[in-house]
């Protein structure tokens, strides 16, 4: 190589590490790296840098994935299954092969006994092989049956262990789903307690002139100061905006927090900031994260206690 530095700076090692090169070009780089330690070192640095970048983006896989992926991988690479499968194939071939010789063996027997009638002199030598081949035949039949049974039992066993793996993975998936459901159920129970509690006063918020069809409800517990909001229907928000709830205390607006997107679409009720005292509640449209003071022109719903 004439100029190693030039080669390194051409960017070909980066292309190699990023997998951009054809296999011929890759082989050329491999050769150059093998014969020039500087190139080898530079290449390893490039690969280490990209590996480092990859590591920096590590993500803990979602729950339950380890069991599924590792279970499936281990089942697919499992050695006993593949070698035993090969054994079964061999047995299956051997049993079809050994079938032919037994059929062939029966013919000489018939021929021999047929000859025995015609030429009694030859009976002595003919009967002995005949009785031996009867035993051989019986043994072959027994062997074939046993091999067939082995193959059958083996294939059932393989099926059963495949099923166990499949069941284990579906069980893991089911457990994960159940966790999620349990969590959602817990959240719903809490919501329900709020809705049924006598201490909560429901405040209906009605749409203003700008959005007459908007409806929402605030559940307010003056003793514990807890506030929940339950949306029936609100106009869709422009991008980058969020609904914000305000408590009006002696005419002064107090921030009661912003509504999650899911709350605003009416998917569930949401607990808001605690409010010490209020005579009315109202909602306005504010930039993401809410404002310090309400933008009155965007007031969507309002209601008094």
């Amino acid at each position: 190589m004439e100029n190693i530095q030039q080669y390194i700076e051409s960017g070909i090692l980066e292309q190699y590490a990023l997998g951009e090169l054809s296999s011929a070009e890759q082989a050329a780089v491999d050769n150059n790296a093998a014969s020039h330690p500087e190139i080898q070192e530079e290449l390893q640095q490039v690969q280490a840098a990209l590996g480092f970048y990859a590591e920096a983006h590590a993500i803990t896989p979602p729950a339950g994935m380890r069991e599924r992926v590792l279970g499936n991988v281990l089942a697919q690479i499992a050695k006993p299954a593949s070698t035993l499968r090969a054994d079964v194939d061999a047995v299956a071939q051997a049993s079809t092969a050994s079938n032919q010789p037994t059929h062939v063996a029966t013919q000489p027997v018939a021929a021999a006994s047929g000859e025995a009638v015609v030429r009694p002199m030859a009976t002595a030598p003919a009967t002995q092989p005949a009785s031996r081949s009867v035993w051989a035949m019986a043994a072959s039949v027994a062997l074939i049956m046993s091999l067939a049974a082995n193959a059958l039992f083996y294939s059932r066993w393989v099926e059963a262990s495949d099923e166990v793996v499949a069941l284990q993975s579906s069980q893991a998936r089911f457990a994960a789903t159940q966790n999620v459901v349990q969590k959602q159920l817990g959240a719903l129970r809490e919501d329900n307690q709020v809705l049924r509690s006598d201490e909560f006063r429901a405040v209906a918020l009605a749409g203003t002139k700008t959005s007459p069809s908007a409806r929402a409800k605030v559940l307010y517990n003056a003793t514990t100061r807890k506030v929940y909001v339950d949306v029936r229907s609100l106009p869709a928000l422009p991008a980058g905006k969020q609904y914000q709830l305000w408590a009006l205390d002696n005419g002064k607006p107090v921030d009661a927090g912003v509504l999650l997107a899911s709350t605003a679409t009416g998917e569930g009720i949401q607990q808001m900031k605690d409010i010490a005292s209020a005579q009315a509640f109202a909602m306005t449209v504010e930039p993401m994260g809410g404002s310090v003071n309400p933008t009155l022109s965007t007031m969507t719903v309002v209601g008094t206690i």
């Binding site: 920096a56 896989p61 697919q76």
Partner: protein, 186 residues
């Protein structure tokens, strides 16, 4: 500099893992999963951008790593480099076949970059290894190029075309960015 060998094993442990895999020891795959799955899953997820597909690709990659292990040559590079390449290639094949189905490849840039931002999963661990440090040290242009090359499977010429800058500039920026990363390791 933060500890960079959280996932890459120390050389002795890596050699032992390689030996067990070469000896076709299936239980070594469990160890392999423990050590590498989060790094490999992270890369695959950034490329395919969907959890279920990422899971499929990871599984496919692990089976491939097992079967193709005889072709791994420890003299040519680290185990991590080799397995990363397998995962990247499978993931890029996956998105290429998807893009092929959808149609034009260039339309994907804006979409895929926004998808990448939106899809940042909650379990992402930026504190894990100096990602913040990387973000600080790489200028945005360098990071964009590395991301396009590494996570979007673009070639350098495709990056040049996509960003409408000369190929030479792409090469220089990519090289400089990789140099910055190398410095962070040491």
């Amino acid at each position: 500099m933060s500890d960079t060998s959280l996932i890459s094993l120390p050389p002795a442990a890596e050699a032992e893992l390689v030996r067990r895999l070469q000896a076709r020891d299936e239980s070594a795959m469990t160890l392999f999963y423990e050590r590498y799955s989060s790094a490999l899953y992270g890369v695959i997820f950034r490329i395919v951008k969907a959890e279920d597909e990422a899971e499929d690709v990871l599984q496919e990659a692990l089976v491939k790593i097992w079967h193709a292990f005889a072709s791994y040559d420890p003299g040519k590079g680290r185990l991590f480099t080799w397995v990363l390449n397998i995962c990247r290639n499978l993931s890029i094949d996956k998105i290429r076949s998807r893009q092929h189905r959808v149609g034009s490849r260039t339309q994907g840039l804006d979409d895929s970059l926004t998808a990448q931002r939106q899809a940042a999963p909650t379990t992402f661990r930026p504190e894990h290894i100096g990602l913040q440090e990387i973000t600080q040290k790489l200028i945005p242009e360098q990071r964009l190029i590395i991301d396009l090359l590494y996570f979007e499977g673009f070639t350098q010429s495709e990056v040049a075309e996509e960003l409408n800058i000369p190929l030479g500039t792409v090469k220089t920026r990519a090289r400089t960015a990789i140099k910055v990363l190398s410095k962070l390791i040491r």
